[in-house]
Structure formats: structure tokens, C-alpha cells
């Protein structure tokens, strides 16, 4: 079975070809298999976010190979990358980033809507199921701006699962929540990981949460430290 994610000597430099060229990732190797629950840790400025953006196909590496579900992304054009990102990767960000103009249910439907072009009953049903799974059925018609941080982050988790992606990237998903909510959101992701076998890559500064993950990968100065 193919790995969900393979990083092979990933390098990233900024200001390429100028006197101030800076390399922030110096050859990262990493593989993740289906059902992995991995914590990515490291101090600020170590290159975690850059690495996460590259894995999320939001940024391109300047060297090395990145494979998602066994597909080499180096050869893909912008629209193919966008398509792959929409189908294979789900995002949960620190500041939840629900779209305030839409309700919780519509936010969960959004990745499917973007993909299909028009809303339909199946999308609504799937959004309702996901909201039910994250315990927010009652809140589905609430506008995103009328929900607490913890609730918004649960909606964000449901949204990340909408396309049933192989990989969910969570960038400090609990960084902005109180301890109770943080714990709830973490547990939710952990349960989904176990139930569905969805691979999770979690960037976190929280040692307690990291300890509850299957693996911890530390990035220091653009290299994997262990």
C-alpha cells in the first residue's frame, strides 16, 4: 500500500538567485502511512510552517520530491495541484478561519461545493453527518461568527473531513483554545483518526498533546532532529 505522504530531500530557499538567498529547509525526509497521527514540533522559525505549506501544496519546494498518495507533485501544474489539494488534503488552522458569510453547515459543505460547482442534497446530508460527528448538529444553521472558538474549531475539523481526504494538516489547531476546548478538539481528531484511518499531521507547541500522538517529529533549523 502506497504511503500517504512521502518527503524525499525536500529543500526550500527564499530569494533564489539573489545575494540574500536563504535556505530554510535543508533536505527533509519523512513518510506517513494511512492512519498515522503525527506531531510536528519545533521552535519558532525552525521551518515547521514552511514545511506544512509545502506538504499542503500551498507552496512548492525548491528541491526534493513530494509524493501524495504515491503521486509525484513536482510535475503537476497549478490547476492539478489545486485539484489534488481539494481532494487529498484537509486543513485545520490555528485561527479556525471559517468563512463568516456562511453558516456552520455551509462552511462544512464548502469543499464539496467548490469541487462540484452547485449544492445538492447529498452535500447537505454529508455536512449534517459530519456536524453530528463533531457534536454540533444543533448549531448547524448558526453563522460562523456566532460560535465559540472551540465550536468553530470543531466545524473546521468537520470541514477538513468533507472530501474524505487521506491527510489532514492541522496547524496548531488548539493553540488558540482554552485547555478544555483544546482537549476536546484533540480528542475529536484522535477519534476520527482511529475510526476512519485518516492520517493526521499536527503542528503543536503543546508537549502534553504531542505525547498523546503516535509519533513526534522535531524540526530544528530546517532539519529533522528526531
Amino acid at each position: 500500500m502506497a504511503d500517504v505522504l512521502t518527503l524525499d530531500g525536500i529543500r526550500k530557499s527564499y530569494n533564489v538567485g539573489t545575494p540574500v538567498e536563504t535556505e530554510v529547509l535543508h533536505g527533509i525526509d519523512l513518510t506517513m502511512q494511512r492512519g498515522d497521527f503525527l506531531a510536528l514540533m519545533g521552535p519558532s522559525g525552525s521551518g515547521k510552517s514552511t514545511l506544512l505549506n509545502i506538504i499542503g501544496l500551498l507552496d512548492r519546494p525548491t528541491g526534493g520530491r513530494l509524493l501524495i498518495n504515491g503521486e509525484d507533485t513536482g510535475q503537476l501544474g497549478d490547476s492539478a495541484l489545486t485539484h489534488l489539494r481539494g481532494h487529498a488534503i484537509g486543513f485545520v488552522f490555528q485561527y479556525h478561519y471559517l468563512i463568516s458569510a456562511f453558516t456552520a453547515r455551509e462552511n462544512v459543505m464548502m469543499p464539496m461545493l467548490v469541487d462540484c460547482g452547485r449544492p445538492d442534497a447529498a452535500m447537505e446530508q454529508r455536512a449534517d453527518e459530519l456536524l453530528d460527528r463533531v457534536g454540533l448538529s444543533k448549531w448547524r444553521n448558526n453563522s460562523a461568527s456566532n460560535m465559540s472558538g472551540g465550536q468553530q474549531q470543531r466545524v473546521a475539523v468537520a470541514r477538513a473531513l468533507a472530501m474524505d481526504p487521506a491527510l489532514v494538516l492541522a496547524d496548531e489547531p488548539t493553540g488558540n483554545l482554552d485547555t478544555k476546548s483544546a482537549d476536546d478538539v484533540f480528542e475529536l481528531m484522535r477519534q476520527i483518526n482511529r475510526e476512519r484511518g485518516t492520517t493526521f499531521l499536527l503542528v503543536t507547541h503543546n508537549d502534553d498533546l504531542a505525547a498523546r500522538c503516535d509519533r513526534i517529529v522535531r524540526v530544528v533549523d530546517g532539519r529533522i532532529a528526531g
Binding site: S79, H83, G86, I99
Partner: protein
């Protein structure tokens, strides 16, 4: 979420509703701009129609006249002495050569609506011991009245021109102390005196025309002016009044006649109409431009405000083209809604102005012309302007780097 709506429309409408105050302000701005355009266009069209009606209902749009008579000295003959100065000959009253053929030719042209032959010349109108110099127009009433709408200006009697009848202006009637049914003598050097009955009195709203113009049958005029079987002019109305001068020039180049259009004979008036049209176009252009810049400015701000939403949408697989369309639709929607409100605003202002603005004599300043086309065009052009104005902000949104957008 409406099931039949595509994602781009849903997102565009929701983003506009989410920023309701901003949306209301810009829609208000667009509505005022479109309202001004609709109001000005309709009012100027009305004023212009009124002016043109006043000018063109009492004169033909094109008049074909016999060519100028010129002296042709014999030159270059051996033994002749050339005159240093060649005097212009007097312009005798002559008929247009082959006029029935020319009239038929004119009537057959697709750009000519009516062609009427008239015989006109000077005469004296006498009653008692009063005499007045008049211009005698010999007309074929059934067609001439379609060109110069004399029946519309009749204030007493009817626009009936019979063998024994004559139509005169209100000023002439007052000068001669004559009223409807009275007899007057019309005297010409060639035919002497002729007694005619006043069948109708008209008021063209122009003192000179009311004093001088008189209408009799073509046959009467021909015999009184010594033009048996001839006519002195062929009067035309054309389909497009602004093409009158070019048609006149074409006819003059083609036939042995002199052709004068209303544009040439009313040059000052025409210049005024043109200037008014030009200033109207300029005002419309600048109002349109300011509306376009307003839409662009608001959308640029929206793109900045929405950059995180755009970033997250891009992260979840939204294509650049979809983002581009979301903002183009927003531009079009803002302009369309603004133009509908603006059209209503313009029409309301027009009604109010039409009701309150009156001429000195109490008649309406301009006819109320509310052309559906004007509103349709206002909406279509405004929407197109909105979409065009949204191009730059939409491109900016589509090109946003999701990493930068999410980081804010």
C-alpha cells in the same frame, strides 16, 4: 443555499450581504450616478424633441430649389473682349426642370419619407385700404401637410385649401382686420387681383411666419405666379433628421437642383443641438467613469478584507478561475442593482421636474419621454461597467498566494 445557484454566485451574493453597509453605500453611489444619467438623457431627449418639433414642423427638412442662375460670358473666342466684372444676373422665378420626375425619384428613395411640390412667390394681400406683402405657397395639401404640419397650428377654421380658399397667419389676419370666412384680395404682378376666402387661420408661434405665409392650392399659385405647370421647390421629410444635410448634398450632386437642408438653413440651432448632445455625452461618460472607479475601489477593499477567506477557499481546492468569477459577479451585481434603483430614481426625478418646470406660457418645458430602451441600456451598460471595473480587483484576488493570504 439555493440548489440551482453555482458556487460563484452563492459566494458573491453572500460576501455582498455579509458586508451590508459597504454594499449599501456603493449601491447608493451607483444608483445616484445612473439616476443622473437616466434623468439627464430623458430630459435632454425631451427638450431636444421639443425644440426640433418647434423648428421642423413649420419648415421642410430638405428643400429642392431650381439651381442658381449664373451669367456665362463667352471666353477665349478670338476677337471677343472679356468683361472685367461679370454681374450676377437677377434670379427670375423659374420652375424646377422635370419636377414630376424628380419628385417621383425622391419619393422612391428609402431615406425620404414624403416629397411635396410647391410653387411659391411674392404677392400682396389687400383688404380695404390695407395691403401687406406676403409669400404665397401653392401646395398639394394632402402631402404638404405631412411635411409642414399646418393643421396642428390652425386656431380658427380648418386646414382646407380649396380653389377659392386661402389659409393665412394670425398676424396677417389681425393686420388686415380680417377673420374666418372674410374675403381678401391677393394681387400678383402677372395675374392681377384674385379674391379668395379665408378658410383657416394658423399660429406658427413665429410672428414673421404668421405675417408672411399664406397657403393656396398649387394650381392657384401656379396661375397667379405665372408658373403654369411649374413648381419652385420640392419639399422633403427624411427618416433620419440628422442625415438631412448628407442627403441634401447627395441629391444636389446627382440632380440639376439646389438642395438646402434644415441643418444648413438653421445652422445656429443645429449647432446648439449638437453642443447639447456633446455635453450630455461627456457628462454621461464622466459619471460612468466615476461609477466604475467607485465599484473598483470598493472591490479592492473587499479583496483585502476577504483575503483570509480567499486563502482558505484556495486551500480547500477553489480554482483561480472560480475566485476571479466571484469578484466579477460581485461587480456586475452591484452595478445591476444600482442601475435598477438609479433608473427608478431618475424616473422619479424626471416626473417631479416635469410637473414643476413650466414654460412662461404655462405649457410643459419638455415632453415626458420615458423610453424603455433607455432603462434597458442603462442596466446593460452599468452591469458591463461593473464587470469591467471588477476585472482588476478580481485578478488581484485570483492571484493571491494562499500562504500569504492565510497568514494575513
Amino acid at each position: 443555499m439555493k440548489r440551482w445557484l453555482p458556487f460563484e454566485w452563492i459566494a458573491a451574493v453572500r460576501f455582498l450581504l455579509d458586508g451590508a453597509v459597504q454594499t449599501l453605500v456603493i449601491v447608493g453611489g451607483i444608483a445616484i450616478g445612473v439616476g443622473v444619467i437616466v434623468f439627464m438623457s430623458a430630459m435632454l431627449a425631451g427638450l431636444q424633441a421639443n425644440f426640433i418639433k418647434r423648428v421642423l414642423t413649420s419648415v421642410p427638412q430638405i428643400q429642392l430649389l431650381p439651381p442658381d442662375q449664373v451669367a456665362r460670358p463667352l471666353r477665349g473666342q478670338p476677337g471677343t473682349i472679356e468683361a472685367a466684372v461679370v454681374q450676377r444676373p437677377t434670379q427670375r422665378m423659374i420652375s424646377i426642370d422635370q419636377w414630376p420626375k424628380i419628385r417621383a425619384e425622391m419619393q422612391a428613395r428609402p431615406d425620404v419619407v414624403y416629397a411635396a411640390a410647391t410653387a411659391s412667390g411674392s404677392a400682396l394681400a389687400l383688404r380695404g385700404d390695407t395691403s401687406r406683402a406676403v409669400t404665397l405657397y401653392g401646395i398639394e395639401p394632402e402631402i404638404y401637410f405631412k411635411i409642414v404640419k399646418v393643421p396642428d397650428f390652425i386656431v380658427a377654421g380648418e386646414a382646407q385649401v380649396t380653389t377659392e380658399g386661402i389659409l393665412i397667419g394670425i398676424e396677417l389676419a389681425s393686420d388686415l382686420g380680417a377673420s374666418l370666412g372674410d374675403k381678401i384680395i391677393v394681387s400678383t404682378p402677372l395675374a392681377g387681383n384674385r379674391i379668395l376666402t379665408i378658410k383657416g387661420i394658423f399660429d406658427f408661434g413665429n410672428k414673421a411666419a404668421n405675417q408672411r405665409n399664406t397657403f393656396v392650392t398649387l394650381r392657384n399659385a401656379q396661375s397667379m405666379l405665372g408658373l403654369i405647370g411649374g413648381v419652385t421647390s420640392i419639399d422633403l421629410t427624411v427618416a433620419d433628421i440628422y442625415a438631412a444635410e448628407s442627403i441634401a448634398q447627395e441629391v444636389q450632386a446627382m440632380l440639376q437642383v439646389k438642395a438646402d437642408s434644415w441643418i444648413k438653413t438653421n445652422a445656429q440651432f443645429f449647432t446648439a443641438v449638437q453642443a447639447q448632445q456633446n455635453s450630455n455625452t461627456l457628462i454621461r461618460l464622466f459619471v460612468g467613469l466615476s461609477v466604475a472607479f467607485g465599484i473598483a475601489a470598493v472591490l479592492i477593499v473587499t479583496v483585502i478584507q476577504r483575503s483570509k477567506d480567499i486563502g482558505i477557499l484556495r486551500a480547500m481546492g477553489t480554482r483561480r478561475g472560480q475566485i476571479l468569477r466571484v469578484f466579477l459577479i460581485q461587480g456586475g451585481l452591484l452595478a445591476f442593482v444600482g442601475s435598477v434603483l438609479g433608473s427608478a430614481l431618475g424616473a422619479l426625478a424626471l416626473f417631479t421636474w416635469h410637473r414643476s418646470a413650466r414654460q412662461v406660457d404655462g405649457s410643459e418645458l419638455f415632453p415626458l419621454i420615458l423610453d424603455v430602451d433607455l432603462f434597458v441600456w442603462a442596466a446593460v451598460l452599468a452591469t458591463a461597467t461593473g464587470v469591467a471595473a471588477a476585472i482588476a480587483p478580481a485578478l488581484r484576488a485570483a492571484r493571491l498566494d494562499p500562504v500569504v493570504a492565510i497568514r494575513g
